[in-house]
Structure formats: structure tokens, C-alpha cells
């Protein structure tokens, strides 16, 4: 091993990379732009769900009941509908997602102390949305029921409203939200986006850079030179590791300064862990680049191999513990999951090495395996 030769290869690679202005621009611009777009765009609070109403009762109580939906920020009223048929048509067109049907004798039955069934039609194409909508509906209904019940009991049993309330609502649930006390979607998304951005952009950068040399044929100069395999790979990867590390720092600055996400952990530890992560994500690019011959193949494969598993299995959106067993196994095969633990831990939980050492170790092992595979696959005497 000769450090000077590694340096030369790295320098050559660096020169080659920065000569392509657009590539350099995109290499730095892409992570920042993504972070901005997703940080603002991927807010997952479901609000303003469009809904329609069939009010068969048309009483003051039914209006009082429906008013709770009109006022709620979770729902957005689209208008009254004459009958169920019309509601169906609107659901099918996607103009509304929920139809609430208030039956006849709504007021009459309730004031007589009888229960009333409120029918709701929910668009089930998007299970997550359906689930959230159901939750909101039940919450509004039970709040309404609770009030009616309290009034009813205090009148019937001749007790005060407070007493009746205690009778009907004896168990409180005190919820404490930890780590992200105000449950801001931005706070949970932005740190994970640091992971997503690095996970997708750095393998791509690396793969394209290496395959470019193969496709243009300039790699034959390397084959015939005195540079060893190890020196070549080390030097070749260095600029990409550097670019990605610089991006990691940029992303950290955007997250903490622009989005004002608290950083409760230890910064040196986080940066060191990020370097380990970058080493493993560029490793993916390296392996892909050695398996393919054309840049198009490198591009498509890196994208499919890094972007989709990262969206699906890294804990970005769905926590790994909620995945099925097979998907959990897949999640453990990609570095994204470990780094998600690290970013969320370092940003929001304020934990450090004592908890996250296992994730860093997994990333290090990953980086090492990918580099060994890369070293095996790369040969200076290609068959064809």
C-alpha cells in the first residue's frame, strides 16, 4: 500500500468530478433541495378530510351534532347531499372521503333517552387514511355521547353535572409524549430525512462515478498502471466519501437551524456515526458499480436498491417493529434502519454511544463487508 498513490488516484477522481459542473452542482444541491421539499412537504398530520352530509333529521340537535364536524380542523365540509346515492357518487369520484348519514328521528330518539346509530361511509382505498378518519369519527361521536349521557343522568338521577360526569367518565388516560413533546411531524420527519437523503444520494454518486470510468474505457489506464486494487478503490472512493460527509454536515445544519429541530445528543458522536454510515452507503454504490457495465444500469439499480428499501423498510415512515417478519429481516439487511435509530436517537432522544453502539457497530460491519465484496469483485484483469 502506498499512500501517495492513493492520494493521486483520489486527486484524479476529484478533478474529474469537479470538471462536470452540473454533476457537482447536483451532488450538493440535491440533498439540500430534497431536505427542503420533504421537510415541508411530508407533514403527515391528516387534516381537512373532505366530507359530505346526508341530514335526514334536519333538527336543531342534528345541526348541533354536525357542527362539531364543521368546526373540526380534521374535516372539511363539502356540502349537504340529498341521499345516499349521491354520496356514493361523490365518494367514487374522490370528491369526498367520508359521508355522514344522520338518520330520521335523531333528535326525538336521543331526547327520549334512546340510542341512535350514525352511519358513516368511508373511502377505504387508503387504509392509513381510513384508520385516521375512523379514529376522529369515534372521538367526536364519543364526546357527543358523553355530553348527552351526562345531561341525561343528571336530569334523571337528580345529581349535579360534575357528579354525573364522574359517574360516566371515571377513568382518565394521561398521555405523555416523550422525546417530541408537541408531536410535531417536522421533528420526527426531518432527522429521518437526513438519513433518507444520504442513503439515496451517496450510493448513486459513487456508482455513477466509478462506472463512468468503465464505460468510457479510461479504466484501462488503471489496469495497466502500477496502482494496486486496494489503492485504486481507496483513492476512488475518497472524494465521494468526502462529498457525502460534507452533505451530512450541511443536512445537520439545515435540520437544526432551518427547521429548528432540537439536537439533544452529542455532536462529535453523531458526526462520527454519520461518517461510518457514509462509508457503508458509498459501499453500496461501489458494489453496484462493479456488477454492471453501463451507467444506466448503475443508475437504475442503485435507485431501486437504495430508494425503495429506504422508503419502505428504514423506519422513515413505518417503524421497523410494525413490519411483518419477512420485511423486518429485509430491514436489517439495509443500513438505513440503523442510521434511522442513530439520527432519531441523537436528535430527539439525546442518547449516545451507550445505547446506539450496536447500530454503529452494525454499520461498521456493513461497510467492511461491502468493501471486502468490492475488493473481491474488482479485478485488474477483466475477462472480456
Amino acid at each position: 500500500m502506498n499512500l501517495q498513490r492513493i492520494g493521486t488516484v483520489a486527486w484524479k477522481e476529484w478533478r474529474e468530478t469537479i470538471r462536470d459542473r452540473m454533476f457537482v452542482l447536483l451532488a450538493f444541491l440535491l440533498p439540500i433541495l430534497w431536505m427542503m421539499v420533504f421537510g415541508y412537504g411530508l407533514v403527515q398530520d391528516v387534516e381537512d378530510i373532505p366530507f359530505g352530509v346526508v341530514d335526514r333529521d334536519q333538527s336543531s340537535l342534528s345541526r348541533d351534532y354536525l357542527y362539531r364536524f364543521f368546526e373540526s380542523r380534521y374535516f372539511s365540509f363539502q356540502g349537504y347531499v340529498s341521499d345516499e346515492k349521491q354520496a356514493e357518487a361523490l365518494l367514487q369520484r374522490g370528491k369526498i372521503r367520508v359521508a355522514i348519514i344522520v338518520p330520521e328521528k335523531f333528535e326525538e330518539r336521543l331526547s327520549q333517552g334512546q340510542s341512535v346509530g350514525i352511519q358513516t361511509l368511508i373511502d377505504g382505498t387508503f387504509p392509513l387514511r381510513t384508520d385516521i378518519v375512523k379514529g376522529y369519527l369515534i372521538a367526536i361521536n364519543s364526546a357527543f355521547s358523553g355530553e348527552r349521557l351526562v345531561g341525561h343522568l343528571s336530569r334523571r338521577n337528580g345529581v349535579s353535572v360534575e357528579q354525573a360526569e364522574m359517574q360516566t367518565h371515571p377513568v382518565k388516560t394521561e398521555v405523555r409524549y416523550l422525546y417530541n413533546e408537541e408531536v410535531r411531524s417536522t421533528w420526527s420527519m426531518v432527522p429521518a430525512l437526513v438519513m433518507f437523503t444520504l442513503m439515496v444520494s451517496s450510493p448513486l454518486l459513487t456508482a455513477l462515478g466509478i462506472v463512468r470510468e468503465k464505460e468510457t474505457g479510461s479504466i484501462y489506464n488503471i489496469y495497466s498502471s502500477t496502482v494496486t486494487r486496494f489503492e485504486y478503490l481507496a483513492g476512488k472512493l475518497l472524494p465521494y466519501v468526502m462529498i457525502s460527509s460534507v452533505n451530512a454536515v450541511f443536512l445537520w445544519i439545515i435540520a437544526t437551524r432551518w427547521f429548528e429541530v432540537p439536537f439533544k445528543g452529542n455532536l462529535p458522536f453523531f458526526l462520527a456515526a454519520s461518517l461510518v454510515f457514509v462509508l457503508s452507503s458509498t459501499g453500496i454504490g461501489l458494489v453496484v458499480s462493479l456488477l454492471v457495465r453501463t451507467q444506466i444500469a448503475a443508475l437504475v439499480i442503485t435507485m431501486v436498491a437504495s430508494m425503495l428499501p429506504t422508503i419502505l423498510f428504514s423506519g422513515l415512515i413505518v417503524p421497523v417493529s410494525s413490519l411483518s417478519r419477512g420485511s423486518q429481516m429485509q430491514a436489517h439487511l439495509f443500513p438505513g434502519m440503523y442510521y434511522t435509530n442513530i439520527v432519531r436517537g441523537a436528535f430527539l432522544k439525546g442518547v449516545g454511544v451507550e445505547v446506539l453502539w450496536i447500530d454503529v457497530l452494525a454499520l461498521a460491519v456493513y461497510a467492511f463487508i461491502l468493501r471486502s465484496v468490492g475488493y473481491r469483485l474488482f479485478t485488474k484483469r477483466p475477462r472480456s
Binding site: 373511502d123 377505504g124 379514529g135 361521536n141 377513568v171 417530541n180 408531536v183 415512515i317 417503524p319 432519531r344
Partner: protein, 389 residues
């Protein structure tokens, strides 16, 4: 007669050129083995994994319980926290233990039941259970909290109603609103339907943008595009076959995914017209390919086009309504995504497959997609002409 014959001949020549060029593109694509394997994987195994593995709803949220009462009531409440929403990971005795587990991500929630819980319940004293929720993933944390509150409320209601009815059998009825939900189109709320369709759409998008873009830029890079330009082909005849070839390949792959995986494995229904679905898929690929070609004309090599399409593809995939529902996104994102053909295709695909919509219902998104695709393709053509004429 004499005037129609040259026109007819022209058409035949045009048609021949088109088919020859399309065959050339197909051949070029088929020679790239890694791409072929990837196509196969993406439209079969990947769709299966996504449909099988991803659950967008709260599922198996790991939960620890600190039961300070150890009574009949507390155990009854604990047993209401069960799959599919919650998974009990065990009991703890020390609050610190719960916090540590949350720190390590071993549990998502900790439920604490106070001492004298049963006693308070039976005597009618107010009581409170405490729930600690990890909200590093805000959406999931909120969802877990809301389910937990619902479970406790249900438990409470059952106890209260039992007590009220027990005390006074004359009033079987109480003035409460009973929620009766009917979920349409996917009544059992099978995530596999939504996730496998979504995943298919994601794969189609990636390939529809990348394959034509990369194919065009490769010709630019190698200089073979000059050969094409000195041939009697018009720029349109060079661009169109690229898109056509990719469209054919992707539509075939979609059919494989739909009939080979999604129907047999998950029972995804095709309630609308199958023909309409495939026509719309072809239109979508065409529109999106226009986007890729436009990107290819502003870049000089494959590395650049890769980065540029990534810039476009990732926002499209995450913000068009596959990951987070459209309603959940801020207004500016919704407006921006009017430019994403995928946004319309999601409505179309779900409409045809799950809702059984026909063209009279989904004509709006179809029209929007066609106009958008036409515009993008036109822009790509215009750039391409300007570059080489």
C-alpha cells in the same frame, strides 16, 4: 388517386421507420442483462414483499405494562391491548426500566396502571392510567396514543354501562350515538391491496422516467445520436420509438405483476375495465417518459441525467399521495403536485381497480394526465430539435 398514393406510401415508410426504431430500442434494452433482471425483480418479488410486509396502520406497537394494582380490572384492561394494534412485550416494576426501554427503542409505549385501580373503579372514584408514548415517529406515536385512549374509553364505557344498567334495569337504552362505519372499496382494509398497488405504481414511475432518459442520453454520450440525425429520421421519429419501446416493456411488466403476483397472492380485485387500466397505464408511462426525455435533453451525460431525474422522482414518489395521503399535505405541495402525472394515475388506478370506475367517472384525472404528458413530451421534442437542428 394519384395524390393519395404518395401520402399512403409516406405513411407506410413512416410506419416502417417507427417499427424498425422501436425494435432497435427493444434489442438494446434486452442486451442489458442487469436491467432485465432488475425489471423482473421489481415487478414480481418487490411487489410481493411490499404487499406482504408494509402496514401503514398502527400494527404490533410494542408495549410494556407497569401494573401496580394486579387486580381483576387491571388485568382485564391490559388484555384489551392486543394484536393487531398492540403487542405486549412484558411487565415491568420500575418506571426507570420503562424509560430505558423507550430510549433503546425496544418499546413504543409504556402503560402504567395505578394502585387501587380496581377499588376506585368499583367505588366510583375517579382514577387515571398513564401512558408514555415514544413520538420520535410522530404519526405512529399519535396513532398509538389514539388507539390506547380508545381502548381505555371502551373499557370505561363497558364498566359504566354495566354499572348503570345493573343499577336500573328499566333503562336499557341510553342516549348515546353509536358509530356504524361502513368502509367501501376495501371493506376489510387490507393493507396488501393498497401497498401492492402503490408499490407497482412506484416501480412504473421509476422505470418510465429512467429508461427512456438514460437511453437517449447514452446515445448523446456515445455520439450515436449523430448517426441517427444524419439518417432520414425526424427528431420525432427518434424520440417516439424510445418511448414506445419502454411503454411496451413496462405495460407487459405491469401485467405480469398484476396477474402473476397481486391477484393470486393478495386477491387484489379488478373491478373496472381491464382494457381501460392498461390503456391508462400506457398513457401514464408515456407522460412520465416525456418528463424523462425532457430531462435528458438538458443534460450531457448519464451521471447528470441520473442526478436530475432523482431530483424529480423522489418528490414525485413521496408527495404524490402514495406515502402520505394528499389531504395530509400542505396546500403548496398539493398545488406543486398538480404537475406530477403520478398524482393523477393514483386516482385512476385505484378508481379502476378498487372502485370499479369507468371513464365517465375518472375522465378528469385522465384528461389532466394526457394534457400534462403531451406538454412534457412537446417540451422534450422542442429541446431536442433546438439542440440538434
Amino acid at each position: 388517386m394519384t395524390s393519395t398514393r404518395p401520402a399512403l406510401q409516406g405513411l407506410i415508410v413512416w410506419w416502417r421507420r417507427l417499427s424498425v426504431m422501436t425494435r432497435k430500442e427493444m434489442l438494446q434494452l434486452s442486451r442489458d442483462l442487469p436491467i432485465g433482471l432488475l425489471l423482473l425483480y421489481s415487478f414480481t418479488l418487490a411487489v410481493y414483499i411490499a404487499g406482504n410486509g408494509i402496514r401503514s396502520q398502527l400494527q404490533n406497537a410494542s408495549m410494556l405494562v407497569q401494573d401496580n394494582d394486579q387486580s381483576f380490572s387491571s388485568r382485564e384492561l391490559i388484555h384489551k391491548f392486543r394484536p393487531p394494534f398492540f403487542r405486549l412485550e412484558g411487565e415491568i416494576n420500575d418506571p426507570q426500566e420503562g424509560l430505558r426501554a423507550l430510549d433503546r427503542g425496544q418499546a413504543m409505549a409504556v402503560l402504567e396502571i395505578p394502585p387501587r385501580f380496581h377499588e376506585q373503579l368499583t367505588t366510583g372514584e375517579p382514577t387515571a392510567v398513564q401512558l408514555l408514548v415514544d413520538t420520535t415517529n410522530a404519526a405512529q406515536g399519535l396513532s398509538a396514543a389514539s388507539y390506547a385512549v380508545r381502548i381505555v374509553a371502551q373499557f370505561e364505557q363497558d364498566t359504566v354501562l354495566a354499572r348503570l344498567r345493573g343499577a336500573d334495569t328499566s333503562s336499557q337504552n341510553l342516549p348515546v350515538v353509536v358509530s356504524e362505519h361502513r368502509v367501501w372499496y376495501n371493506p376489510e382494509q387490507k393493507d396488501a391491496w393498497f401497498e401492492s398497488v402503490s408499490h407497482l405504481l412506484r416501480q412504473i414511475t421509476i422505470f418510465a422516467i429512467l429508461l427512456p432518459a438514460a437511453a437517449l442520453v447514452r446515445e448523446k454520450e456515445r455520439g450515436t445520436v449523430e448517426q441517427l440525425l444524419v439518417s432520414p429520421l425526424t427528431p420525432f421519429q427518434i424520440m417516439l420509438p424510445k418511448v414506445l419501446a419502454m411503454t411496451i416493456v413496462i405495460v407487459c411488466a405491469t401485467a405480469v405483476a398484476l396477474f402473476g403476483i397481486m391477484r393470486p397472492a393478495f386477491g387484489v380485485p379488478i373491478r373496472g375495465s381491464m382494457l381501460l387500466f392498461f390503456i391508462c397505464t400506457a398513457l401514464f408511462v408515456f407522460s412520465t417518459a416525456g418528463m424523462g426525455l425532457a430531462a435528458a435533453t438538458v443534460t450531457r451525460n448519464q451521471a447528470q441525467v441520473g442526478m436530475l431525474t432523482l431530483l424529480v422522482v423522489a418528490p414525485m414518489m413521496l408527495l404524490s399521495g402514495l406515502v402520505a395521503p394528499m389531504e395530509a399535505l400542505p396546500p403548496w405541495t398539493r398545488h406543486l403536485m398538480m404537475l406530477s402525472p403520478l398524482r393523477y394515475f393514483i386516482d385512476i388506478a385505484n378508481g379502476i381497480l378498487l372502485k370499479g370506475s369507468d371513464l365517465s367517472i375518472i375522465w378528469e384525472p385522465v384528461l389532466a394526465m394526457v394534457v400534462l404528458g403531451g406538454g412534457l413530451f412537446g417540451f422534450g421534442m422542442w429541446r431536442f430539435r433546438r439542440q440538434f437542428d
